[in-house]
Amino acid sequence: MVGSSVVESRVGGGVSGSGGSGSGGVGGSRGRSVSLWKRRERGHALLFAAPSVLLFAAFVLLPLLYAVYLSFTRFNGVVDPVWVGLSNYESAWGDSAWWNSVRNTFILAFGGMAIEIPLSLFLAVLLNRALKLGGFFRTVYFVPHVISIAVMGVVFYFLLRPVDGVINGLLSPIGIVAADMDWLGSRPTALLSLILVGVWASFGVNTILFLVGMQTISRDIYEAARIDGAGSWKMFSRITVPLLSPILRIVVMLSIIFSMRSFDLVKTLTDGAPAGQTEVMFTYLFGYYFGLDHGAQYGYASALAVYAAIIVAILSVIYLYLSRSKDGGSR
């Protein structure tokens, strides 16, 4: 296939060479000479596309198919895979620890959002007032975004140490928490910690995205509303939010999708502790792939992966649908 296109490109090259010398400057032949050039260069163009496309095929597409195949087998990496049909999916259906992980994933996703979206909106409204130090605050809020969340998981693990830890050391004198509060020791507080660290990591990014959106809203609209006697709450709810809704939608869906995929923070901060109660979808199935406790149950892990992919895909399709309908409306 590659060979034939090379031959074709050589033949095409000869033709375009003669045509080019005869009528290169004539306007009518431009389209023709472009398509000839394209044909002559097609072999090279394929070489241009090859590296990215091949790597994508080998390390994104092929693994997908392989994972789906494995989900129908029993496989421990030593003995050849044995076809077992849907039995992995059936076991997963009744695996309460798995569904607990799914529930945790949703709690983290929507709990984080419930704090983050209002907070980011509020900060963006404040920053949108053209303050002298606005740029400084924007920069500071952005910092967590450039830092590895996996490393921050480990750092927060240190900061949250129950005895003589930094966060307890700061909070217990004010009387907010007990001096030896074990944040990661029980499910509710461990989930709360994951949510708050997640908010710490991403509220700034959302604030900046909202701010970018708000800066495209014309000042004249606010001016007109002010003359009509609208207060700041009315201007926020009747002007800012509606005009911001395209960005709002994108931010909401992106945060949901990113939290559904979350792995790094949970793995490095709680690692499922206590006793697997804070596992999320991907840390849980990761355990069946690489964990020491479950051993290598690649077939079962793959079935869980397909479940997870379906859940993420459903939410992603909703996102796609919403962003498409937005594009359609504005055109």
Binding site: P51, V60, L62, L70, T268
Partner: protein, 307 residues
Amino acid sequence: MTATQEQVAGADQARVVRAGQARVLREARARRRVGHVAIYVVLGVMAALTVMPLLYAFFASFKPVEDILVDGARLLPREWTLENYRIAWELGGFDQYFQNSLFVVIGVITLDLLFSSMLGFVLARKLVPFGNTIAMVMGGSLFLGMGTATLYPRLVIAQQLGIDNLVGVVLLEFSGMTVIHTFLIRAFVTTLPAELEDAARVDGCGIWRAYWMIAFPLMRPILTTTTILAFQASWNAFQLPYVFTLNDPEMRTLVVGVYALRATEDGSQAYDLILAGAMLIIVPIVILFAFLQRYFLRGLTEGSVKG
């Protein structure tokens, strides 16, 4: 006479109105000043909450081991020491981890600069057959979110190809990001005028020279963005390098090295090494961010609107 009276009355009235306006303005200004103070307090508190975890970890990394675990609320070290860094670097393996991280970052950026821009270019100029199909399949994969799910298959394929090492980490990290970067570059190239390339074509240039001599230099703005994104993603990456180095500590990157210290089974975390190692990751990228803010911000807005 009535006219002058009216004039006087009018002037009085005007004075009263002006005084009233001045008072209203003064009050408004005072209210605004109070409002400003309140805004700055809120923004300042959030800024403090943002930097405090980083500052505490930063200063703790300069504390002697025995001070790290006591008196958590104390920010500054009683006694400054570089001992944690020395031990992490010389005995903790972080010199090796640092080299590995550099290898991954440089490898990924090089591949990304070349391959993503090449594919983005030929897609934008519609030079390959089935260009739209390629773009659609690649775009579709973004919405599956199978990152963790396909870790094991990817490892197996890398093993089959004999690249279950840092070279594999480079190739796989790149293959995960090339889709978005290709799309960003494609969108940018379509905004570039094709006339220059046409001229080169008439002069007998092949596709390689049209790309390398003409299009590539013009892509600089978008390539700055994708390179920053590539750096950020590969320097901070955890999952893939972690899986690829499970059986080979020598190949750990900095991030994996820090996590390995936290994940000890007996719970005897070496916080001195953890904190020093974490700073080796955090400080360089924060410094880079301080200098290249604009580009990081652009990467965020372009990346998220597209992605």
